[in-house]
């Protein structure tokens, strides 16, 4: 093999560099995103009202489907009333219902979305609530 030494050294350096992120993070706990729900609007709610339109587990897994249903219902069917958990009725609106409680987009939406590397395009049209730079 011509230049065998150089090639092998090069390969070792390459493998070391390529796998560096794995070694670097070994043993470190990969912190789970913890979206915050401590906004003023949520804190003002009475304990029996302190829930989302559906149970937490459903919202965690299926909020994207729910938002799509809300979108189709509001825009295409003209229906703005959603029967939520426990027979409570909600006004279907991202800006005027979801974000009135979850006024902390950066600490709520973005926490998980950034972690998962997803960039939903909601906010290119819908106006996010104003919040302090954290």
């Amino acid at each position: 093999m011509y230049n065998g030494g150089k090639i092998i050294v090069g390969l070792i350096i390459f493998v070391a560099l390529f796998t560096f992120p794995f070694y670097y993070n070994i043993g470190k706990v990969n912190a789970k995103p913890e979206p915050k729900i401590d906004t003023p609007a949520i804190q003002h709610l009475t304990p029996e009202d302190k829930h989302c339109v559906q149970p937490k587990s459903f919202m965690r897994g299926e909020h994207m489907q729910l938002l799509n249903q809300w979108r189709d219902s509001a825009v295409r069917d003209g229906n703005r009333v959603y029967d939520g958990m426990g027979g409570k009725k909600y006004y279907i609106s991202l800006q005027n219902t979801c974000m009135k409680c979850h006024s902390n987009k950066k600490e709520f939406c973005d926490k998980c979305h950034n972690y998962m590397g997803v960039t939903p395009y909601c906010w290119s049209c819908h106006i996010a609530p104003k919040e302090k730079e954290s």
């Binding site: 825009v75 295409r76 800006q95 009135k100 979850h102 049209c125 106006i127 104003k130 302090k132 730079e133």
Partner: protein, 269 residues
Amino acid sequence: MSMNRRQFIKLAGISTILGIGGVSAIDRVKGSAVEAAHEGVLESEFPNPLIAKRWAMVVDVSKFKTEEDYQKCIDACHSIHNVPCCGTKKDEVKWIWTDTYEHAFPTQENEYIPGGIKNKPFLLLCNHCDNPPCVRVCPTKATFKRKDGIVMMDQHRCIGCRFCMAACPFGARSFNWRDPRPFIKKQNLEYPTRTIGVVEKCTFCFERLVKGLQPACVEASKGALVFGDLSDPSSEVRKILSTRYSIRRKQELGTQPSVYYLIGGIENA
């Protein structure tokens, strides 16, 4: 300079390594805007929505007397719907606007009509046609006709092909050639903006009807605009249309516009 295979592979390898580092550096440089605190409130009221089989509007031209009468309708609409303004004519976005009789009713024009009508601005908006050509041409069904006759836009689906703009004979549609956000004077936080590359137009205030409110321009006009159900013989619009002569824009095209204009006689001059 020629390059042999070995040099090419070296160069490609170095570029790849530089590239991997570069992406994360760019992400960090991207800044985010400073924003102020905002108090949240739950939407708890569900007033009775306004429901109809066929929404329509009557524009009583004689009740528009000064420049201000038009402007307050336009401002009411454009401010609550976050319509951008103050661009060049090419970039203009309009939901409701004015134009001359000659342009609004090009086939109903002659040289002897009273000057008071000929030189008067006419308030124009989407006609919410019964047979809307924009809906026929839309390839994604982003624009569609609701059961109550409103020709709606679903901004989520619009791909910005502008077929609807070519199809609409009334020029009621505007394209966002640029990001509209910097051109909105004061954002209404209750209503979305649009994004670059979508078409927008009047929606007969579908978001207000569902709350039991009249369209914003109707409310601001103080009686010069009347909004109601065309299918209901006892509705205000039907009463007006059965007693006063009205015209519609470009009726000969067969789109059946739902915006009626009361022209009246010489007393409008």
